[in-house]
C-alpha cells in the first residue's frame, strides 16, 4: 500500500483533471483514477475520500446528490470556479516542474 502511493498534491491534481470533463460521484472518480494511473500509481479509494472532502471544504469542488444512470442516489462532485482556476495554476506549475526536471535529467 505504501508502495507507489500517489503523493497528496498529485491526487488533488488528478481529481481536478477528472472532474474538469464532467461531474462524477466518488466511485466514478475512483474508476477513472484507476484507469488513468493503472501503470504508475495505485490509488486506494480510502485515501481518495479525505482528499475529496478537503477539496470540497476548500471550495474547489461543489457536490450535489442526484440519481445515477441505474437510479441510485449518489453524491456528484463538480469543479467550482475556484477549482478551475486552481487546476490551471496546478497544470502550469506541474508542466514547469516537469520541464525543469526533464532538463536536469537530460543534462546529467
Amino acid at each position: 500500500m505504501d508502495k507507489h502511493e500517489v503523493p497528496q498534491g498529485t491526487l488533488e491534481l488528478l481529481i481536478l483533471t477528472i472532474l474538469s470533463r464532467e461531474p462524477l460521484h466518488g466511485y466514478g472518480i475512483s474508476q477513472r483514477l484507476a484507469l488513468l494511473t493503472r501503470d504508475t500509481f495505485q490509488v486506494n479509494p480510502g485515501s481518495m475520500f479525505p482528499t475529496l472532502y478537503r477539496m470540497e471544504q476548500d471550495g474547489k469542488l461543489k457536490a450535489e446528490w442526484r440519481a445515477t444512470e441505474n437510479n441510485r442516489n449518489a453524491k456528484y462532485y463538480r469543479l467550482t470556479a475556484t477549482g478551475k482556476k486552481h487546476l490551471e495554476q496546478e497544470k502550469r506549475w506541474w508542466s514547469q516542474v516537469a520541464w525543469a526536471i526533464g532538463n536536469v535529467l537530460e543534462g546529467a
Binding site: 466514478g28 485515501s47 441505474n70 453524491k75
Partner: protein, 876 residues
C-alpha cells in the same frame, strides 16, 4: 475565498455535525453500492461483491476516521474529543485520578509556596516607581557582634546635604503609638518619617496627599498623619471623608492628609510590626521618644532610604558616599566625641532590595528559605517518582485499549496526542488544586508567627511570576508523564495484546518501577531524618537553660511616665495573689537585645547586652548570685550606680578576677560592680552565654509577676495600669514560656513542616511500594501457582516475594543514609544541640521506614501466597 469556504465548513462541522456525518456515511455507502453493482455485473454473487467492495475501500469506519482527521478544523475538534475522552477515562478510574491530582497538588503546591516565600522575601521590590534606584545606608561596626545599625539623624542630615548622587534622601524610624480614634485607644505600629519620605519613595496614595513640605527640625509644625490602607479600612470603614479628620496620637491631635495604597506597607519587612500610619519627624516629641533624637550622634536607630540620580549605579553611589563618612567626622568632631573617641564603624551602601530586613539577618533568613525550598523540592521529587510509577501502572493496563484503537484505525500520532491531552488535563487539575494547597500552606506558615523574621502577607497571592512558575511546572510534569505510556504504546504489539497476552507489557515496567520506589524510600528516609533533627533542635532550644517554672512567670508590657514607676511597682506587689514581681527592660530568653558599652579604663569599650532590672528579678528567675549581693531598694539613687555583671562579663573585664567592688565605665559615667551572677542564655538558647550588664532601675517597661495564674489577678493589674495611665490599651498577659516559644517560630516551623512533608513522602512511598509489590506478585502468579502446586508452603512463597521487596527496601535505606549525609550540611546551620549526622535520627528514620515498608509489602504478598494453586493455574 478559500478561507471563507474553510470557515463555513468548520462552522458546519461544529454546528451541523450530524448532517455532515450522515452525508459522509451515505457517500461512502453509495460508493460501496456502485462498486458492488459493477462487480455483480461482472458476475459476482451480490454478498461477495459487497464484501469485496468494502475490502477495496479499506473499511467504512477507517475511511470515515481518515476523512475526519483530515478535515479542516479537525484539530480543534479532535482536541475537544480528546478532552471528552480524557474526562471519561478519569471518571472510569476516579481513585487513580484523585491520587494523581492530589499527588500533583501536594508536589506543585509545596514548591509554589517555597517559590512564593523566596519571591516575597527576596525579589519582590518595594511597590514604588523605579525601585532599582533606591538604596539604603547602614553603619557597620568594624568589630564586635553588633554589626549593622542605622544612622543617627545628624548623620542622615549630613549625607542628605552633601551628596551629589542622590536625588532624594529620606529617613524613618518605627515605633508603636497609642492611637485614639473615636475614643477607642489602640497601640498601633507606625513610623516617624522625614517630611520628604513619600515623595522620595514615590509611594502611591489612594487618597489625599503626602506631608506638606516642612522642616524636620521645626518641631511641632505639621501635625499630619498618613494612614495605611488597612488602618483606613479597619478604623474608618474606608470612608473617603477621612481626609481632614482629626485623630489623637499619644497626646496630640493629628490631621489625616492621606491614605497609602494597599500594596505599600513600609520599606522594612521585619522590625516590630508593619507600619499602619506615618507622622512627620518634626512631630516626634509626641511619641515615646523622650530624648532629642534629632541631636544625638550616637542614636543609630534611624533607617534611611535614598533615591539615586538617574543613571547612577551602586558602585558610583558607594564611591561618592563613603568618603563623606570620613569628612563628616572631621567636620563634626562631636560625632566622634559622642563615642568617646572610639567611633569604629563604616558606612555600607546597599541596594534597597537587600536592605528590606536587617542586613545582619540576611544569611539566617536565606538559609531558612533555602532549607524550606530544598525540602519542598525533595517532596516534589518523591511526588514525581510516585506519578511516574502510577503512570506506568496505568499505561500497562491501558495497552489493550490502545491496541484496540490502533486496530480501529486511530493513528499513533492521534493516540500520543490523546495521552498528552490526558496528562495536561491532569496537570491543570493538579495545578488548580496546588493553588489551594499553597494558600493553605501559606496560612499555616502564618500560624507559626514569624519564622522567616519578616512579615508575610496574610494571603498567598498568585502573581504572574508564581503563575508562570506553576504553569511551567505543571506542563513539564504533564508532558514528562506522557512519555512513559507513549513509549509503551509505541511498543504495543497489537496482535499479541488482543490475544490476551499481557506479559510483554508487564515486564517493561517492573525493574524500572522498583528503582523508582527505591529512590522514593531514599528520599523519604532523608526527609524523616531531617524531621527528627529539627524536632530535636526544637526540644533543645525550647528546653535549654530552663528558668524556674517559666509557665508561672507572666510578662506584662507597661509604658508609664518614668516618675510613676516606683509607686506603680509598690502597688503591684500588694495586689492580692501576686507572689513576686520585677520590672525589667528586656524579656530574658528571647533573641532581642538592648546594647550598651562598658570599659574598665574608658579605652577598650566592650559591646554588651544591658538589662535594667528592679529588685526580685534574680530570685524570680532562679539565677544564682555567685559573688557579692543582689539589689535592694536602697540601691535607688546611689552614686556611683550599682550594677551586677555576668560571669562572662566579669572574665572579660577583669581577667585576673576579683571584680566585686570595682568601678567600671558606661558611656553615661562610672558604675560600681556589686556582684557577679551566673551566666544564663539571655538571648535564647542559640544566643549562648553573652556578657550582660544588669543596672538597677525601677523604670523598665516590662513587668514580670509570678502568681497562681488566676485571671482576677491580671485584671487587677490591668485595673492598676488604667489608674496610672487611662490611655493605656489592655494587652493580654502572656507567660514567659509562651514568649520564649514565640521566639522559636523558625524552629517550630522547621520541626512541623519537615515532619509533615516527611510523612507525606512516606505515604507516597508506601503507596508506590504496595503497588509495585502487588504488581510483581500478579506478574508471577503463574509461577506462584506452580510452586504451590508442587508443595511450596505459604512461608516459602512469602520468602520469595518479600525477598525481592526486602532487597529493594535495603537499597533504598542505604541510599537514604547517603542522601541524609548530603542533606545534613544544608540544614546544619538551622540545627541546635544535635549533630547533623546524628545516629539516633538515622536509625529512627530507617527503622520507621523499614517497619512501614514491611507492612505495605506484606499485605499483597500475603494474599498472593494464600491463593489456591488450582485457582491460579486454571486462570489462563
Amino acid at each position: 475565498m478559500t478561507i471563507v469556504h474553510r470557515l463555513v465548513s468548520i462552522l458546519r462541522w461544529v454546528f451541523q455535525r450530524h448532517r455532515v456525518e450522515s452525508e459522509l456515511h451515505r457517500d461512502i455507502e453509495s460508493f460501496i453500492e456502485l462498486s458492488a453493482a459493477d462487480k455483480v455485473r461482472d458476475g459476482m454473487v451480490p454478498e461477495e461483491a459487497r464484501r469485496l467492495a468494502r475490502l477495496e475501500l479499506g473499511g467504512m469506519d477507517q475511511v470515515k476516521e481518515r476523512v475526519r482527521t483530515e478535515r479542516r478544523g479537525a484539530l480543534l475538534d479532535e482536541l475537544s474529543q480528546d478532552v471528552h475522552y480524557a474526562l471519561r477515562m478519569f471518571a472510569k478510574s476516579p481513585a487513580l485520578t484523585i491520587i494523581v491530582v492530589v499527588t500533583l497538588a501536594v508536589g506543585i503546591g509545596a514548591n509554589l509556596t517555597a517559590f512564593g516565600l523566596a519571591r516575597t522575601i527576596f525579589w519582590q521590590p518595594v511597590p514604588v516607581p523605579e525601585p532599582h534606584r533606591l538604596i539604603a545606608l547602614y553603619n557597620r561596626a568594624e568589630r564586635g557582634a553588633g554589626a549593622y545599625s542605622g544612622l543617627s539623624y545628624p548623620e542622615y542630615e549630613y549625607f542628605r546635604d552633601h551628596s551629589d548622587v542622590l536625588s532624594g534622601f529620606a529617613t524613618y524610624v518605627r515605633i508603636h503609638f497609642l492611637v485614639n480614634v473615636g475614643n477607642e485607644v489602640e497601640k498601633i505600629p507606625g513610623e516617624i518619617v522625614s517630611s520628604n519620605y513619600f515623595s522620595v519613595l514615590g509611594t502611591p496614595l489612594v487618597l489625599g496627599r503626602p506631608f506638606s513640605a516642612g522642616n524636620d527640625r521645626s518641631l511641632g509644625t505639621t501635625p499630619e498623619v498618613v494612614l495605611s490602607h488597612g488602618l483606613w479600612q479597619r478604623r474608618f470603614g474606608g470612608d473617603r471623608n477621612v481626609l481632614g479628620q482629626s485623630i489623637r496620637i499619644e497626646k496630640q491631635s493629628f490631621t489625616v492628609v492621606g491614605v497609602a495604597a494597599p500594596v505599600f506597607q513600609g520599606v522594612l519587612m521585619d522590625w516590630l510590626e508593619l507600619p499602619q500610619l506615618w507622622i512627620p519627624l518634626n512631630m516626634y516629641p509626641e511619641s515615646l521618644f523622650t530624648f532629642k533624637i534629632l541631636e544625638r550622634w550616637d542614636w543609630h536607630a534611624m533607617m534611611v532610604v535614598g533615591r539615586l540620580n538617574a543613571g547612577v549605579g551602586l558602585d558610583r553611589a558607594a564611591a561618592a558616599l563613603k568618603p563623606l563618612d570620613a569628612r563628616m567626622s572631621t567636620d563634626h568632631p562631636e560625632r566622634v566625641q559622642a563615642f568617646r573617641g572610639k567611633y569604629e564603624s563604616t558606612i555600607d551602601v546597599l541596594p534597597l532590595q537587600r536592605a528590606r530586613f536587617f542586613p545582619a539577618y540576611r544569611e539566617t533568613i536565606l538559609s531558612t528559605v533555602q532549607v524550606v525550598a530544598v525540602v519542598m523540592a525533595i517532596l516534589l521529587g518523591v511526588a514525581c517518582l510516585s506519578l511516574v510509577n502510577l503512570m506506568i501502572a496505568k499505561s500497562t493496563t491501558r495497552q489493550r485499549e490502545l491496541a484496540v484503537r490502533v486496530a480501529l484505525g486511530a493513528s499513533r500520532g492521534r493516540l500520543l496526542r490523546q495521552l498528552i491531552v490526558e496528562n495536561i488535563l491532569l496537570s491543570i487539575m493538579g495545578g488548580v488544586a496546588a493553588i489551594i494547597v499553597a494558600s493553605l500552606a501559606w496560612k499555616s506558615i502564618a500560624l507559626f508567627g514569624r519564622p522567616f523574621r519578616v512579615w508575610l502577607p496574610a494571603e498567598f497571592t498568585l502573581d504572574f511570576q508564581s503563575g508562570a512558575f506553576m504553569v511551567g511546572l505543571a506542563l513539564l510534569l504533564g508532558i514528562m508523564f506522557a512519555i512513559w505510556p507513549i513509549r509503551n504504546a509505541a511498543k504495543v504489539d497489537v496482535h499479541s495484546l488482543l490475544k490476551g497476552d499481557t506479559r510483554g507489557g508487564r515486564s517493561i515496567g517492573l525493574r524500572f518501577r522498583s528503582a523508582l520506589v527505591t529512590a522514593q524510600i531514599a528520599a523519604s528516609v532523608a526527609l524523616l531524618t531531617c524531621a527528627s533533627l529539627f524536632v530535636q533542635t526544637l526540644q533543645n532550644t525550647a528546653g535549654e537553660d530552663r528558668y524556674v517554672d517559666r509557665d508561672r512567670i507572666t510578662v506584662i508590657g507597661v509604658g508609664l511616665p518614668v516618675d510613676r514607676y516606683p509607686e506603680f511597682f509598690d502597688r503591684v506587689r500588694r495586689v492580692p495573689g501576686v507572689e513576686q514581681a520585677s520590672l525589667i527592660t528586656s524579656v530574658p530568653g528571647v533573641p532581642f537585645r538592648n546594647p550598651g558599652f562598658v570599659s574598665v579604663n574608658e579605652s577598650a569599650w566592650l559591646n554588651v547586652d544591658v538589662n535594667s532590672v528592679s529588685t526580685g528579678f534574680f530570685k524570680m528567675m532562679g539565677i544564682p548570685i555567685l559573688v557579692g549581693r543582689d539589689f535592694t531598694e536602697q540601691d535607688a539613687g546611689i552614686s556611683p550606680p550599682p550594677v551586677l555583671i555576668t560571669e562572662t562579663l566579669a572574665r572579660a573585664l577583669f581577667p585576673a578576677g576579683d571584680s566585686v567592688g570595682r568601678s567600671i565605665n558606661r558611656r553615661s559615667g562610672p558604675v560600681q560592680v556589686i556582684g557577679i551572677v551566673k551566666d544564663t542564655k539571655t538571648r535564647g538558647a542559640r544566643g549562648g552565654f553573652v556578657p550582660v550588664l544588669y543596672p538597677y532601675s525601677l523604670s523598665g517597661g516590662t513587668l514580670l509577676i509570678t502568681s497562681n495564674g488566676s485571671a482576677s489577678i491580671f485584671s487587677a493589674v490591668q485595673q492598676l495600669l488604667r489608674e496610672f495611665d487611662p490611655d493605656f490599651p489592655l494587652i493580654s498577659p502572656r507567660s514567659l514560656q509562651s514568649h520564649i516559644e514565640g521566639s522559636l517560630s523558625t524552629e517550630r516551623l522547621a520541626a512541623v513542616l519537615v515532619s509533615v512533608l516527611g510523612f507525606i513522602a512516606l505515604m507516597l512511598t508506601l503507596i508506590g511500594l504496595y503497588g509495585v509489590t502487588a504488581f510483581s506478585v500478579a506478574a508471577r502468579h503463574k509461577e506462584i501457582g506452580i510452586r504451590r502446586a508442587i508443595g511450596a508452603q505459604t512461608i516459602d512463597v512469602l520468602r520469595l516475594v518479600l525477598g525481592q521487596t526486602g532487597l529493594m527496601v535495603a537499597w533504598g535505606l542505604l541510599a537514604g543514609i547517603g542522601g541524609s549525609s548530603v542533606l545534613a550540611p544544608v540544614i546544619s546551620t538551622m540545627l541546635y544541640g544535635v549533630d547533623p549526622t546524628d545516629e539516633f535520627s538515622l536509625l529512627l528514620s530507617c527503622g520507621f521506614m523499614a517497619v512501614t515498608a514491611a507492612v505495605a509489602s506484606f499485605i499483597p504478598s500475603w494474599s498472593a501466597s494464600r491463593v489456591e494453586p488450582s485457582v491460579i493455574l486454571r486462570h489462563d
